[in-house]
């Protein structure tokens, strides 16, 4: 096994620890942005270390690519765990068995919409004026990108959307 693999693994572990500590210290509320900052600093450090110790350019590329893959996987996993209904159900059942009624109470539909609206507002994708909600410029850009990728993947708009 190349040493660059081991070095990348260690740097990734340090980046995850840094992300965790920065979160507990309340630095940068957005968890993805927080990891991008910590992960970039760790990635630059990795580049310097690999350039000093790697035997070939391909060693450096392998180490950096492996680190980038681990970072993407980590971001995917923690964003999924924070927003996935399945992950939330597993975490709830981790605390003990629940009846269908208890689960329904947690996932009361209007509450789910409300929490997402709050989140969209906190991330500056929508603004609320009285009872009226509109997209911000950032939200409009996101919806345009969504349409682009939906066309690209040749998909129809969400079929079960009641609106």
């Amino acid at each position: 096994m190349p040493a660059s693999l081991l070095i990348s693994g260690v740097v990734f572990f340090v980046a995850v620890l840094g992300h965790s500590i920065a979160g507990r210290l309340g630095m940068i509320q957005n968890s993805v942005a927080r990891f991008l900052v910590v992960g970039s600093v760790a990635g630059l450090t990795l580049l310097v270390v690999l350039c000093r110790h790697a035997v070939s350019a391909l060693d450096v590329m392998a180490g950096l690519t492996f680190y980038a893959f681990l970072c993407e996987l980590y971001i995917f996993l923690f964003t999924m765990v924070s927003s996935s209904i399945s992950a939330k159900t597993l975490r709830l059942l981790w605390q003990g068995p629940m009846s269908a009624e208890q689960l329904e109470a947690v996932y009361e539909g209007a509450g789910m919409v409300q929490r997402r609206l709050e989140r969209l507002q906190a991330t500056h994708l929508i603004r609320t004026e009285g009872k009226h909600r509109t997209l911000t410029a950032k939200g409009e850009r996101l919806v345009r990108w969504l349409r682009f990728f939906r066309d690209f993947f040749h998909r129809l708009p969400t079929s079960n959307c009641p609106i």
């Binding site: 391909l58 996987l73 209904i85 789910m112 009641p162």
Partner: protein, 163 residues
């Protein structure tokens, strides 16, 4: 720096993507989650085996690590975007707001949330993570492992729960 095996792999990635863009995405058979996952998973397994054999034969472990990591980044990014355009709950809400849907219509999105919850619970049961016993849902041993991973990841990344 870019040896022949690396160039062969990059050519394979370009061909895989081009095949999707020009041929596969227009076919209905590739619009289900299982099919698009298989479209990435099985070729990735073949690539992994071939490059593993190559690494064992020629002691080129840096090539193996580089190729596997690049494949991981490509497939993970692709599948994330694909699933995001398929049915993200938050994006459905954003689109409803963009269409100037009335507040009551946005509240109707709660029905999607309820459908998602029921579908996810059924999926977890089908996967063998959750079982119904004495009128209550509880984790199976595999479900406990998955739930423990979710709890660990939430705690480690310090992300807020978004459901």
């Amino acid at each position: 720096m870019f040896s022949m095996p690396v160039l062969v792999f990059v050519s394979y990635l370009v061909a895989h993507f081009a095949f999707y863009v020009f041929i596969a995405r227009r076919n209905a058979w590739l619009r289900s989650e299982k099919a698009i996952f298989a479209y990435h998973f099985f070729p990735a397994c073949v690539v992994a085996i071939l490059y593993l054999l190559f690494a064992m034969y020629d002691d080129k472990w840096n090539v193996f690590v580089f190729v596997i990591s690049l494949q991981g980044i490509y497939s993970l990014s692709f599948l994330e975007l694909w699933s995001l355009t398929q049915g993200s709950y938050s994006l459905s809400i954003l689109e409803a707001i963009e269409r100037n849907a009335a507040a009551s219509a946005i509240d109707n999105l709660s029905t999607i949330g309820e459908q998602k919850r029921a579908a996810r619970l059924e999926n977890l049961q089908n996967l063998g993570f959750v079982r119904l016993r004495d009128g209550k849902y509880q984790l199976t041993p595999w479900g406990s492992v998955a739930a423990w991973c979710c709890v660990l990841l939430t705690s480690l990344s310090n992300v807020s729960e978004g459901n």
